[in-house]
Every structure is written in structure tokens, then in C-alpha cells.
């Protein structure tokens, strides 16, 4: 038992440490903010893909869960911790970790509350209800003056950095990949493909859907806290349906049912949006969202399975493909 977990842990810290160090030292501050946003969007897109792509339940309120995570994390570090006398100092990374995990847990609790009644609905109706809940969460936050309401929440300690973001991105991807690869992970896709058959096999489709929802909102909350502690300022207007839509676009472009797809498209689209902003500086025309929308429409009309469909990048590499084959996993 020890060896494999040890290798996992060591590789994790090597990758995070190496990549984090590389990014922090070889990129200028401004491009780093874009890379940070890429990382946050990767977490959002992969987690949403679990619900929308792998489990086939169309949720349109992901930004709402991110908002919960952002505000809970920020509230902890700006209000609760100082109140308890836990200020800046050597233990700060610990506080940040605790706050971020708490943010994820809070978001997943909200996901549970929203998910249980909503996941009884199918297709369009589920989409609308999740959109509604996403908006309600945002309007609710807008009315909580303790966290600034419409004026926003500022002065959030800058605890987030490349190491944390890379770390959480790697964790999210590994978690989701291992989940999907396991026998129990196949249940998500079973629900997507045929709910009646899934039920006839003795599985509760509601429990599976809610489970997906809880995992997804947990990571959305994590992303929210990372976001809050990187940009040090929060405003409810960030977490509108607009943002949910951007994440949906990433999931669809990458391929609903492909983790690699979500990773690649999250990075691509975040970068695209940034390049378009530069274009806007030159031409004065804000084409960003127009192009986003056109990309989505074009995708649906020409290649609805997105870039990767339901396949992973590793499927294209013969070595990995053979490892994945049925026989290999047994011997």
C-alpha cells in the first residue's frame, strides 16, 4: 500500500512545485493572471463536465456554486479568522487551505440542497431550474451586506498563487479521472446513456446524479475560493449566467464526456477571450462574447461532439491505449 501512494504524493509535489515555480519565474505578472484564470476555468470546466457530460444532466448554474465558494472562502479569511485572532503569519497557507476546503464543502452542501429537488427533472426543465437557482444564489449574495452586497467585497488577502492553483488543478483532474476510470465511475455514464436500464440494474439514478452534482459543486467552490484570493476583490456581478455560459461553452467545445477536452478547451477559450480583449483595445469593438456565442452555435451545427467527443487524449497514444484495454487491467 505504501509504495504507490508514496509515488503519487512525491510526483504530485514535484509536478506542482516544478510547474508552479516555472510559471512564476518565466512569465510576466500580467500573463500570469491569465494562466491563473486558465487554471480556475479548468477546474470549473472539468467539474461541470462530470455533471453535464458524463452524467448527462444539463446544469446551467455552475457560476452560482463558484460564487458560494468564493464568498465563503473570502468571508472566512477576511472576517472569521481575523476575529478568531488568526492573522497573517507562517500559518497562513494552512488557513488558506482550510478556507478553500470549507468553501468547497459549503458549495457542495448548496449543491446537495439544489440538486435533490432539481434532479428529478429532465432535460430542458433541469437546465432552466439550475439557471434559476444560479441567479437566486447571486441575488441572495447581492443582498447580504456583511459581504459587501452590491459594492463587492474587497481586501481579501492575496493567498492564492501559482502553486496553489496548479495544485488544485492537478488534484481536481486526478480525482475526476480516477473516479471515472473506476467501476463505480461507470455508473455516471450509465445514467447518461439510459436511466431506465440503470435503474433496472439496481442502481438509484437519483443518488448517482446527486453525487455528480455534489462533486461538481465542491470543485466549483474550490475554484471560487482560489479566484477570490487571487483577485482579492469579489463582486456578485462576476457570477452571472454569463459566466455559467462560458463554462458550458468550454465543456461543449472540449467534448461532453472528455476530461482532456475540458482541460484543453478551458485553456484555449480563456486565452481566446484574452486575445480578443487585446483586439478590443485596438479596434474599440468588444467582440468577445459575440465570438463566443458564434463559436457555440457553429459547434452545434457542425461538430456537436466538440474536439474530443467522449475520448481522452491518452486514447490516442498506443502505449496508454493498450494499458486501458480490458485484458491489461486484469493481469
Amino acid at each position: 500500500m505504501r509504495i504507490r501512494q508514496l509515488i503519487d504524493l512525491v510526483s504530485f509535489f514535484l509536478v506542482v512545485g516544478g510547474l508552479g515555480w516555472f510559471i512564476q519565474n518565466f512569465f510576466d505578472p500580467y500573463p500570469q493572471t491569465i494562466i491563473a484564470l486558465c487554471g480556475i476555468n479548468v477546474i470549473l470546466a472539468t467539474s461541470l463536465n462530470l455533471v453535464n457530460g458524463f452524467t448527462g444532466q444539463f446544469s446551467m448554474g455552475h457560476a452560482g456554486f463558484m460564487a458560494i465558494g468564493a464568498y465563503v472562502g473570502a468571508a472566512l479569511t477576511t472576517i472569521v479568522f481575523p476575529h478568531l485572532g488568526l492573522g497573517p503569519g507562517p500559518l497562513q497557507p494552512v488557513y488558506f487551505f482550510v478556507a478553500t476546503v470549507a468553501a468547497g464543502v459549503a458549495a457542495s452542501l448548496v449543491g446537495l440542497v439544489v440538486g435533490i429537488p432539481s434532479l428529478r427533472l429532465k432535460g430542458d426543465y433541469l437546465a432552466i431550474v439550475t439557471l434559476g437557482f444560479g441567479e437566486i444564489i447571486r441575488i441572495f449574495i447581492l443582498n447580504v451586506n456583511a459581504v459587501g452586497g452590491a459594492r463587492g467585497l474587497g481586501g481579501i488577502p492575496l493567498m492564492s498563487n501559482m502553486y496553489w492553483i496548479v495544485g488544485w488543478v492537478v488534484f481536481t483532474c486526478i480525482f475526476l479521472a480516477r473516479l471515472i476510470r473506476s467501476v463505480s465511475g461507470k455508473q455516471f455514464m450509465a445514467v447518461r446513456d439510459d436511466e431506465t436500464a440503470t435503474m433496472s440494474m439496481g442502481l438509484s439514478t437519483t443518488q448517482i446524479k446527486v453525487r455528480a452534482f455534489i462533486f461538481a459543486s465542491f470543485f466549483a467552490g474550490i475554484a471560487g475560493s482560489l479566484f477570490a484570493h487571487y483577485y482579492t476583490y469579489l463582486n456578485p456581478s462576476t457570477f452571472t449566467f454569463n459566466y455559467s455560459f462560458q463554462i458550458i461553452a468550454m465543456v461543449v467545445l472540449g467534448g461532453m464526456g472528455s476530461l482532456t477536452g475540458s482541460i484543453v478547451s478551458a485553456i484555449l477559450l480563456t486565452e481566446l477571450l484574452e486575445q480578443l480583449r487585446k483586439l478590443q483595445d485596438i479596434t474599440g469593438v468588444d467582440l468577445r462574447m459575440v465570438i463566443y456565442a458564434l463559436v457555440l452555435i457553429g459547434l452545434m451545427l457542425t461538430r456537436p461532439q466538440g474536439m474530443f467527443g467522449q475520448r481522452e487524449l491518452l486514447d490516442f497514444i498506443p502505449f496508454w491505449r493498450n494499458k486501458k484495454k480490458a485484458g491489461a487491467l486484469i493481469s
Binding site: F58, P117, S118, L121, G123, D124, Y125, A127, I128, V129, G132, F133, E135, I136, I139, N143, T196, F245, I248, V252, G284, V285, D286, L287, M289, V290, Y292, A293, L294, L296, I297, M300, L301, P304
Partner: protein
Amino acid sequence: MGEFFQHIINGVSLGSVYALIAIGYSMVYGILQLINFAHGEVVMLGAVFGFYAAPIIGGRPVHPSLALFFSVLLVAMALCGLVGFTIERLAYRPLRKAPRLNCLITAIGVSLFLQYFTQLDFVFGAIPQSYPEMISQATVLDLGGLHISNLQVIVLALSFSLMAGLQWIVYRTKLGKGMRAVSESTDIAALLGVPVNRVVSFTFVLGSVLAAAAGTLVATSYPKVDALMGALLGLKAFVAAVLGGIGNLPGAVLGGLMMGLAEEFTVGYLSSSFRDAIAFAILIVVLLFRPSGLLGRTVVEKV
């Protein structure tokens, strides 16, 4: 007490506009099982087209005149009908056989595209503009504290005549019969020789025409036009359609009126900051407790 009846009048007036828009959602859902997210944007375009048409037809500066109002209305309706037709042709028809999810995503895409495209400076711009005044506000009736303005009379009269016209089309014309057939079953209707494509196009045009009227009425009543006005209006009207039973036309009208009254009473007796929230609340309650709406039917899935 008088205040109560005032709220009723205001609510019905607002509700009839919601009804006009809700009908569009219900018609499209009835025949295609598609939530036309872009419908709200067509409402917005109705106002935008009117904004540009008014000075062109009536000269600058725009002088209030009923004739001008109706000409602008007709122009807006014609242009929006064209927009609706185009959207269906380009974005929805190719996906007729695709999974419903793809259509949903496309509809969202079209909606956002229209919003952001209109916001571009060379189109309309991101800043709200004032809709030209074509009807000078005047109180038509003043009954012991109860005010009914001429604007409200026009809103009610126009809405209900349009709805009556629609009723006639759906139940007395061949295309209307086709609409009813397609909403029962697209395949069977096609087998029976109903020109499905034409019926679908016609439905979109009809819905868009009504949307244009709604947009014009809204812009005339609250003279602000902006590229994002369709989003909220569309959402509230959609909730109205769901409330009444999506796919059900009388339901859409009923839902619209109820939404208008609910909003009016919320603002009047609770607080104006809940004006928009009440729509979401109703949406969630309906979808969680009675997704088929008040007049809709529950469909049993055949295994």
C-alpha cells in the same frame, strides 16, 4: 381599496404584455419541444427597430401621433417576423433531428449572440437610449382615485386584439390547423401531407410578430431601450408560459396575466427590490411542484 384595484389594472396591463411574449414561447415549444431562448431578444429587437424607424418615418424631432405609432409598430412587426424566420432557418432547422440538448445550447447561443451583437457600438451600443415618444401620456379614466392612462388602454386593446387574431389564425386557417397537427405529432403530420417546414416557419414568424408588438409596447410604456432588456422580459414571459403549461396557448395567456399581477402586487405590497426575484421564485416553485403547469398535461414515458 382603490389602491388594490389600481394594482389590478396595472397588473393586467403588464400581464398582457407578458402574455404576448409567452405565447411565442408556448407555440414554439408546442411544435418543436424547443425552448426558444432567443425569443426575448426578438422582443428587444422590436423596440430597437422602432427606435430607428420612428425618426425615419416621422421625421426629426418625433412628434407624438397615433398614426406614427402604428406605422412604427407595423415596421417593427415585419422586421421581427423576418428575424424570427431567419433564426429558425439558420440555427434551428439544421438541428431538427439532433438531440434536444444540442438545440438548447444553440438557442442559448443565438440569444447571447443577439444580445452582444446589438451591444456593439456600430449596431445599437451598450448604453440605454430613450424610446421616442409617440403617444402623449394622458389619463383616460379617473374614477375615485383609479387612474387608467391612454397608454394602458392601448396596451390592453392591442394585446387582446392580437391574441384574438392569433386565435382566429390557429383555429380558422389551414396553416393554423397545420400548427395544431404538428404540435400533436410532427411525424404523423408530415405523413398526412402537412408542410411541416412551412408550418414551423410560420409559427416562428407569428411568435416574432407578437414579440415585436410586446417590445414596442414596453418601450412605449417605460421609454428605455437597451440591448439587454429582452433577457429579463423573456425570462419572466417564459416563467409565465411554464406557469400556464408550456405548449398550451390559453395557458400562456393565463400565465402572463398571473405573472403581471404577481409582479405588480409584489412591488406594491412587499418591496420593489423583489420585482425580479418573484419571477425566479415562481419558476422554481412551478418546476419543482407542478412542472406541467396549470393547464398543461403530464406526459408518461413509455418504457
